[in-house]
């Protein structure tokens, strides 16, 4: 018996109804993603990147085919099971940060742990560790409205990593950031991947992100057009040195 891949999809299809027409967002995607990968779904707008990411993240269900994440078939999960999978194993980083505006930085990061029911002392330690990771411990009491775009995205990353998920899904996570902040964020993510073994899957068409990817899966019209793994990791040209 062979070990099943950490994440895999088989002939995955997703169609949407637009009036009288059916739009195929995914059209038979078959993929294997191993634990600890730093992979990216790239391709033009409408190629199905976000749809695939959403299905892997159990935010959406496939129309046909199968997507299995950590042994759980997404298409068979109930709402509660999907919520539990997201809560315990998956962290999300969104293009628009999606921080909760009435909470402080600390509370935004703590939120994920509240759902896990951790005791206060443990929550506090984990939140401060996560904020240390993204170098925002000194902004713990700030509100999201007081942060720059780069800082907001780092808070979003802290919120994603604080529960030490197995997978982080980042959807256009640098699209709203300038080059310097983008590299900062990506370096932080790469460090997390390296040191904690967290699996990262990006959906992006940002060249800056592509420089960091160790595996690039190109989607075109809902299908896998190419799947390239870079030997030695994503050390593409133009990548600046580590910076905070």
């Amino acid at each position: 018996m062979t070990d099943a891949p950490f994440i895999y999809t088989r002939d995955l299809k997703k169609t949407y109804r637009m009036g009288l027409h059916q739009i195929a967002a995914l059209d038979g995607v078959t993929l294997d993603i191993a634990k600890g990968e730093f992979a990216g779904l790239v391709g033009p707008s409408g190629s199905g990147k976000t749809t695939l990411l959403n299905i892997i993240g159990s935010l959406d269900a496939p129309s046909e085919g199968s997507a299995v994440v950590m042994g759980q078939a997404i298409e068979t999960l109930t709402h509660k099971e999907a919520a539990r999978l997201r809560n315990r194993h998956i962290g999300f980083v969104f293009q628009t940060f999606n921080l909760l505006p009435v909470y402080t930085v600390y509370e935004n990061v703590e939120f994920a742990l509240l759902l896990l029911g951790l005791p206060p002392a443990q929550r506090r330690r984990k939140v401060m560790d996560a904020l240390d990771w993204v170098h925002l411990a000194d902004r713990a009491r700030s509100k999201p409205s007081q942060l720059s775009g780069g800082q907001s995205q780092r808070v979003a990353i802290a919120r994603a990593i604080v529960k030490e998920p197995d997978i982080i899904l980042a959807d256009e996570s640098t699209a709203n950031l300038d080059a310097k902040n983008s590299h900062n964020i990506l370096q932080t993510m790469e460090r997390l991947n390296r040191e904690l073994g967290t699996t990262f899957i990006f959906a992006t068409h940002d060249f800056k992100v592509m420089q960091y990817l160790r595996r690039t899966i190109t989607l075109v019209d809902g299908r896998v057009d190419s799947d390239e793994t870079q030997v030695g990791g994503g050390m593409g040209v133009g990548r600046p040195g580590a910076e905070r």
């Binding site: 709402h79 919520a83 809560n87 999300f92 505006p101 009435v102 994920a112 759902l115």
Partner: protein, 394 residues
């Protein structure tokens, strides 16, 4: 416990928007309690005034007496039974003799009921002591109420011809001098009534020792019917039945007011919830991405709506308790015209707020608030996390 904490945080975090809602809702709380308290106060006052001025502990009536049939009045009198006489002697009862009469103020003719009562009685809250005022044998001291005064154009000190029929059916007349115009909220002791000293009326009518009914003090136990010589006891409930029927009718209109205030409050909550669900779709998506189920999101938004009600109750308590207490102490002055509405209320209404009213209103508003807060959240049950994250409604 996470939902209550988050809901409170969200509400307090929303700042002014929350406090505006809470204030509007708290106004509803206060207005509902005030309006209901006012109606209750009016009912209580009316009952208290009737009991104090007319009913006391109940009446023991001559068997022929029918207060609703003036034609029976000529025969509705008899010697006061000994059991009642002894109560009267002990100050626990006040006999009243009622005869038909006519007054002629300024040449006009007004039919009246002439009521004889002991000027020294203290059972009814009627200023009968004025009837002790010195008057000659040719003049009968008379006490009338303000409505009677208005109807007849009489005022204190005026003289008016009073005509009646004595025991033998013979007409007789004498001048009556108005010794006092009493200010009473109870119409039935005022409208068409002329109060005179009992002894004088007995002498004028040739009915010594007789009465039409005997008013019992609240502390006096009514004698049994045999001891009362066949006279009939009517208790407070008998007298208050009509008033209570009026209160029932009035309670219905009070309920409409209640419903309007409640609807206004609910509209505020419903509007807030609909707006919140529209504006906070992305937040809902984020919550789902973080592991919230739709049920929890619905729970969170519903709880926020309910917390609006709880905060409103607290805010209402802060300014409502002093305000309503002050109103209960000082009362609410009524315009003079209100007196003629047929309801025995005084010049001021003192609202009465019972624990039941306050607790019931609070509970009802909270329940309805929660329900109204829940209604729009049903939309969330159909919300796809992916749409919510994009800020779209499914």
């Amino acid at each position: 416990m996470i939902i209550p904490k988050l809901a409170l945080k969200n509400l307090l975090g929303a700042g002014l928007r929350t406090w505006l809602n809470v204030f509007v809702l708290s106004l509803s709380f206060v207005l509902i309690i005030f309006s209901q308290g006012l109606i209750r106060g009016m009912d209580q006052q009316a009952e208290e005034a009737m009991i104090a001025s007319e009913v006391a502990g109940g009446h023991v009536q001559h068997p022929a007496y029918d207060p609703f049939d003036p034609l029976t009045l000529a025969d509705a009198h008899g010697p006061v039974p000994p059991a009642l006489e002894s109560l009267a002697a002990a100050g626990k009862a006040a006999p009243v003799l009622v005869v038909q009469g006519t007054i002629y103020p300024q040449g006009r003719l007004i039919a009246v009921q002439v009521k004889g009562i002991d000027p020294g009685q203290s059972i009814l809250n009627i200023p009968t002591s004025f009837l002790s005022a010195g008057s000659s044998d040719d003049e009968v001291p008379a006490l009338i109420g303000q409505r009677m005064a208005m109807l007849s154009g009489l005022k204190a000190g005026d003289r008016v011809t009073l005509q009646w029929r004595d025991a033998r059916g013979t007409f007789d007349a004498r001048d009556a001098v108005v010794v006092q115009v009493m200010n009473t909220s109870v119409q039935s002791i005022d409208q068409g009534q002329v109060w005179v000293p009992l002894a004088r009326l007995r002498e004028m009518t040739g009915l010594p020792g007789e009465a039409t009914f005997v008013v019992l003090a609240k502390v006096a136990a009514p004698p049994d019917q045999a001891a009362a010589g066949g006279w009939v006891f009517r208790d407070q409930d008998d007298f208050l039945a009509d008033l209570r029927a009026m209160v029932e009718t009035k309670s219905f209109s009070g309920s409409i007011l209640y419903a309007i205030f409640l609807a206004l409050a609910m509209l505020a909550i419903f509007d807030t919830q609909v707006l919140a669900i529209f504006h906070r779709r992305r937040e809902m998506g984020t919550l789902m991405a973080l592991g919230f189920t739709r049920g929890k999101v619905i729970g969170l938004f519903t709880f926020e709506g309910m917390l609006n009600g709880v905060l409103a109750a607290l805010v209402a308590a802060v300014y409502g308790i002093p305000l309503l207490s002050w109103m209960a102490r000082t009362g609410w002055a009524l315009p003079a015209e209100t007196d003629s509405y047929g309801f025995p209320i005084g010049e001021r209404i003192f609202p009465a707020y019972g624990v039941g009213l306050v607790a019931g209103t609070t509970l009802l508003v909270l329940l309805v608030t929660t329900f109204v807060a829940f209604l729009p959240t049903r939309k969330i049950a159909r919300l796809k996390p992916t749409d919510a994250l994009r800020g779209r409604m499914t």
